[in-house]
Symmetry: C2
């Protein structure tokens, strides 16, 4: 490894990232400019980031031994996912700086801990003088309760109906940590659906189903020194639990509401002791913002920053975990639209580059080096331009993404 990269000889640090998916791949790109050495802990050399990172170490992120071997060579270790178990994080912390640390990561790993902590935080934020002064929109977490049996869930459903006045169904069930079959969230319409989820025997929360107007996300960064920075609030569109589209900044968002969301991002990062990025997904309702999920890493809702912000989220994450001063978060264009490229039936993505690039020389294509499988995120496209013309940007981005996926030009819906 040492003769692959001389950066360390010259006083530049070594950053390790556990996980080698597309988030690590795009972080590797950012590391090139900073001149720091970047290594990934990958399951195989075929993974997305391993393909572009000479500093790839093969290992299992659940193995304390593999993590130790990886961590010993790094000045700081960070993550492209939240799945490293707490005990292993503790071991890793013995040999290197781990950012975000175990105490913060628990809130990205354990939804019960996150809900308890953030519910309290939201309440205290709303009670503070600053928050109500900003706006009459409040920020809160969904009502929730840990459940283990059908009776638990039915009791939650009845209570929720009584409080909200909304229909009893659907109810949301979430795995406290992990999930199964790659899923961790279920929207259940009936007792039978609840029973099916319960049958898997995993720890669950029941949550109110929030009838939102749209989804937003806020992305903040925090360094060990405590410096914070926050990006403009974006609108996200999810389909079947997958992020499909991000519009930055969120169109028509009242500045007071945007500031409230940004304030939440910065405060939550500080309160939870995050180092690196913190992404918070929000439901926007008429008079409130409701916290959905959070992540402590680069996030799909921030990919637009690569092409339309002074500092990309990947560079920002590196700066934060290295305790360097954070970069400017301003947009470099009036608006940007990112659309994920999902795999379609035809695996030959590259053959479709010609059409996409010829049709729109301004579209930015980002490929992840992944084998095409139907529905899998294999890349994304971003189109940036005038803020007054978001629908045109959406149309361009969707046409490019759909053509890459499907070989047909389908406009935004």
């Amino acid at each position: 490894m040492s003769d692959l990269n001389r950066a360390r000889e010259f006083g530049f640090p070594v950053v390790g990232m556990v996980g080698a998916g597309q988030l690590a791949r795009m972080t590797a790109q950012a590391a090139v400019a900073l001149g720091v050495e970047f290594r990934v802990l990958a399951a195989s050399l075929a993974e997305s980031a391993a393909q572009v990172c000479p500093g790839t170490v093969i290992g299992d992120y659940k193995s304390a031994g593999d993590l130790l071997g990886f961590g010993i060579g790094c000045d700081v270790v960070t993550f492209d996912h939240e799945h490293v178990p707490g005990a292993q994080l503790a071991v890793l912390s013995e040999v290197t700086a781990v950012r975000p640390g175990r105490e913060a990561l628990v809130y990205a790993q354990d939804k019960l801990a996150m809900r308890n902590r953030l519910s309290f935080l939201c309440e205290s934020l709303c009670e503070q003088a600053a928050a109500p002064a900003l706006t009459d929109v409040r920020v809160r977490c969904p009502r929730f309760r840990p459940v283990g049996t059908l009776a638990d869930v039915l009791a939650f459903v009845a209570d929720e109906h009584a409080i909200s006045g909304r229909p009893e169904w659907p109810v949301v069930l979430k795995a406290v940590s992990g999930g199964y079959d790659g899923k961790g969230v279920w929207i259940c319409d009936s007792k039978e659906a609840v029973s099916e989820v319960l049958s898997h025997g995993i720890g669950l929360l029941a949550e109110e189903f929030v009838p939102f107007d749209r989804e937003l996300a806020v992305l903040a960064a925090r360094s060990p020194k405590g410096q914070g920075a926050v990006y403009p609030v974006v609108q996200t569109v999810q389909q079947d639990g997958i992020c499909r589209e991000v519009i930055a900044p969120a169109p028509g968002l009242a500045s007071e509401v945007a500031e409230l969301a940004q304030w939440l991002g910065l405060r939550a990062a500080a309160e939870l002791g995050v180092t690196g990025l913190l992404a918070i997904e929000l439901f926007q309702c008429e008079k409130e913002l409701v916290v959905n999920e959070l992540a402590m890493r680069p996030h799909n809702s921030g990919h637009w920053t690569m092409d339309a912000s002074v500092t990309s989220q990947f560079e920002q994450h590196l700066r934060a975990v290295l305790d360097l001063p954070l970069g400017a978060t301003a947009c470099t264009s009036g608006a940007a639209v990112m659309v994920n490229v999902l795999g379609g039936d035809d695996p030959d993505l590259y053959s479709r580059f010609i059409h996409v690039m010829a049709a729109d020389p301004g579209v930015k294509v980002h490929m992840y080096g992944k084998q095409v499988k139907p529905g899998r995120k294999v890349g994304h496209v971003t189109v940036a331009g005038e803020g007054s013309d978001v629908e045109r940007l959406r149309d361009r981005a969707w046409r490019a993404a759909n053509f890459l996926s499907l070989g047909t030009e389908e406009p935004a819906t």
Copy 2:
């Protein structure tokens, strides 16, 4: 190699670049987004691009065997320098697509061939109806003559004095190809200085010394299909033969003159059969543009495109050599200033990141992974912003670059 990168399995091509300096390093960054596999032929794993490129092959660019071994694994081979000899290029062309090809590269390798061809091209361009219609500014090459003896040079000096009416000295001597001690251009003030250059026994041209107002550069791209694209014309500032600063677009440049330079870039790329990028350095004088040098690769004068153009020059070069449609060349901000970071006395660059990033969160830092040596290009910084405030952008960029170099804040001169 094959298990390092699965892109090819998925139908993505393999691009090889001969040379592993900072131009290859930044091309590697661009290749990540396109999803193509990128390999470099490097002299050692310590080179700038080798540090960030898993597809590094160690070899000698002058060795036909090494080039063949490298080229066989690539769908297309391109270059981060012009030093591969013609015979070796011919061998390489037997096994893979070489872009730019040998017939074009000769004009980047042999200044006599370049001067002959471009002098003719400039004359014919100026005679065409389109050119004079654009502007009364003409474009030409410097007067030149191959020289072998002091008498040759003195005859050129006398003739040049008679034609131009300018002082006899200085005269410019240029190596026809290569040079010695890393130099290929000498500005000679006296017979003694000329004799010193002649004593090295290399092929030389004498050229008129052009008293220019400022230096410009134009960067064009051309694909094998013949598509062309050209970036806004920039102003460059050279010190001691090294590019120090680039301002994009060139401030106060009359649009007719900018169009003439862009037109020259596109026409020269087509006439010389370039595939990939063509950079032309120009002297701007009162009533004429004079062609100084050209290069067929990403160029220092185009580094600003990474942070302030829709398509970076590195992505553009890849798109061109892959015969993909070219990307948009528009600026994403009103203006951008790039300043090279030269090595100073203190090798510890990284320790100075904190000050630079804290002082200016909007500065973009690009490091090359090179050991600091006094005067060596070890990175660059770019600051983008409003076109109405170029002096402020210059000041910010110079302060950052000087601090990284020297540890002191010195403003732009």
